[in-house]
Subunit: 430 residues, 2 copies
């Protein structure tokens, strides 16, 4: 790319950045937790439409994707699960096509009194924009949009088809991205600006979600005996799961990108509910677990190991022996994915192009990172043979209280993204 074109593009990002920040603030104010994404998706669809992209907005049909590899089991309907894709159709199609993907769903805010300012009333303080989802990943989603805007402001359009995807369900299943695949969206590469500190994600763990259900016969507390309590019976099961976590993290089981990481696979008891009344011995308890898996780790074997582990632990507890725990899979059933294992030409040239764009903006080499969670890249990488790059801004406390994202970092990522699009797709006149 000629230097003056690059400079024009970077200036355009700079010139639009206040508008971009306002747009992001507005988007963060939509509390798009699972099931509540509609207003945020409408906002995105309008923004795409205003810019002249053709907009595809559809409700996910579970039956369309249930049989596909990568599908995660869900309980309940997808009545409220709407994906939005805006398409830029190139006039010349001389370059390589691209999917710019991001997710609109955010995780719950948690107790509101733990937030300094309300989670869905975004606030800018110095370099930080605060709010639930500001970092994970509305900043990235908006960066995709404004990177395209910058090309346009500079007088260009991508010389290949670009599909701007705003998907639901990233935080619990990935079925939103899977539905995009099923709908036929394909491209030569994918970029997802998840907030990993301006590094390129070379590998990510997979994630399994499961619920453990305990149920037994309760009594009046006056007759409580040892081990009759469904809440306390969860404890030995959690301990057994931590032992499994330790086994899975052992050096000999590690994927090469995690060789020096002692604890890449995290087991998290993220939610628990049990019992009805302080003076009734609780007869039931349900806890939700998230467990990581390495790229290449077989999910079926992982599930079997989880179930065996729980049943073995149950044998050693008087309540559980009589009331076997049951496992319900509801949510993530996600394989790990390693871009580093993709030795194809498109993968290496996409990485190279992103590295060059990053260096042009930051004057630094693009670092690579193995992350201990999942992103939607796995669908493109594993099931559509498309190199999928995660590269996004610096954020803090994602999934926590007072989540925030760095505005300067967003600006750099938007710049690098715009340059990457220009390089990967090439440019044509508007």
């Amino acid at each position: 790319m000629e230097k003056d074109i690059a400079l024009k593009i970077l200036s355009a990002v700079e010139a639009n950045f206040d508008k971009q920040t306002d747009f992001l603030s507005e988007l963060v104010s939509h509390p798009s937790t699972r099931g509540q994404e509609q207003s945020a998706q409408a906002y995105m669809a309008d923004a795409l439409s205003e810019r002249g992209y053709s907009v595809d907005r559809w409700q996910i049909n579970v039956d369309d994707i249930r049989q596909l590899p990568g599908f995660s089991p869900v309980i309940g309907s997808y009545d409220d699960a709407v994906n939005v894709v805006g398409t830029h159709k190139s006039a010349t199609s001389k370059g390589r096509s691209l999917i710019l993907n991001g997710h609109i769903d955010v995780v719950p805010a948690g107790p509101l009194d733990m937030w300094k300012t309300p989670p869905f009333s975004p606030k800018v303080e110095g370099d930080w924009l605060y709010g639930r989802g500001a970092g994970d990943m509305k900043a990235g989603l908006v960066a995709n949009l404004f990177a395209l805007d910058a090309l346009r402001s500079a007088g260009f359009a991508p010389a290949a088809d670009v599909f701007f995807q705003s998907v639901v369900e990233e935080e619990c299943t990935g079925n939103g991205a899977l539905a995009c695949l099923q709908r036929g969206y394909k491209a030569d590469a994918v970029l997802i600006p998840e907030p990993f500190d301006e590094t390129l994600v070379k590998a990510q763990t997979g994630v399994i979600w499961f619920q453990v259900h305990l149920k037994g016969l309760p009594t009046h507390v006056a007759y409580a005996g040892d081990g009759a309590n469904a809440i306390e019976a969860a404890v030995p099961l959690i301990n057994a799961l931590h032992a499994l976590e330790k086994r899975w993290n052992a050096p000999e089981h590690r994927h090469h990108d995690f060789a020096h990481h002692d604890h890449a696979l995290n087991l998290n008891v993220g939610k628990i509910v049990g019992g009805d009344w302080a003076s009734s011995v609780p007869a039931w308890c349900v806890f939700d677990v998230r467990m990581g898996v390495f790229p290449g780790q077989d999910l079926e074997a992982a599930r079997a190991d989880i179930e065996t582990t729980l049943l073995q632990a149950a044998e050693e507890n008087s309540f559980l022996r009589e009331n076997k725990p049951t496992v319900v899979y509801h949510g993530f059933m996600a394989e790990g994915y390693a871009l580093s294992d993709d030795k194809s030409e498109p993968a290496s040239s996409a990485i190279k192009a992103l590295g060059a764009a990053h260096k042009a903006v930051t004057n630094k080499d693009l670092e690579q990172m193995a992350i201990t969670c999942t992103t939607d890249t796995r669908f493109f990488g594993l099931y559509a043979n498309t190199p999928a790059l995660v590269y996004g801004p610096h954020a803090e406390a994602i999934h926590g209280f007072n989540e925030r994202v760095s505005l300067e970092s967003i600006k750099r990522v938007t710049m690098a993204t715009a340059l990457f699009i220009a390089d990967w797709c090439g440019l044509e006149a508007q």
Copy 2:
């Protein structure tokens, strides 16, 4: 009492018993869990009114009772908490007055699929009547009413004032019974037919309810570290509370009526809620605890011991050290009570009268029992200097699934109650 009068009364109970069973079934069908007692109370008030008792029906005002000994802290209002008292005013007042007390509130049913038949669709099978609250203690409440009916059917009325009390809040605070005291209801003795298998309760433990609140800083599970999980941080606290339970149950701390009971004081973690999302490290967790205390055990010292125990355990956990647990008292703050410690004349004559009534019906001596839970007797015994007797039918699975009460036992208790009233109050013409 002359033998033919006693026989007349017993025959009247027998003759009315189908009606009594129907009345009980109807009452059980009202799902009078805390906050939902109104329709059941209306049913009781109508039944009392139909019989010609003067009915006092009032909403409890927390401010009226807050300063009284025995008050249990509550969160929220008592907008829905309505007591019902029906009064029989004696024409002669030659006998001793009596309070017949019972509670209308029932504990939650728990998961409905654990019930063979729906908890609020009572069902008779052989000798058993099934339903939530059938045993605890609608059977007793109805036995009180039909014992009075039997006297009437036999042509008599009690020769002293009798106050029929149907109270709320027994299962969580006792503030319903306390409100009856505050409203001025006094008598020479109290009978409460809680379902303790046709024995006389000589002593009961007290009960403290408390909630332990944990709150900290959560993160994305990708960055989960040891001890950052509020749900798992509950475990060492629960363990510490069980150590306290063991200390309190030590032989040297026992009330004499519990001298040979190794585990009279039960600690129950009855409810737990924590976390919002499987993939967010949970930042909060709340668990509800019920702990017993012996008669005579000082509640203030007990609370201090609980709090110290929790804070000491918190020091040994990395999450808790930075995020101290807080204790909220909400519900039972109930002292123990031992009728056996009441050496007064009224107490011994009431026990004697009940023993005689029991023997007349069952041909057996009245056994005495120390129970490991609380009842509303404590208010009358401790704060109104009135002997308070618990004597009720045989029931099973109270607070459990498929709770049931024995119809034959109800009949015997109704008979014994009627004879006890006749003896204690004396009889006058209707």
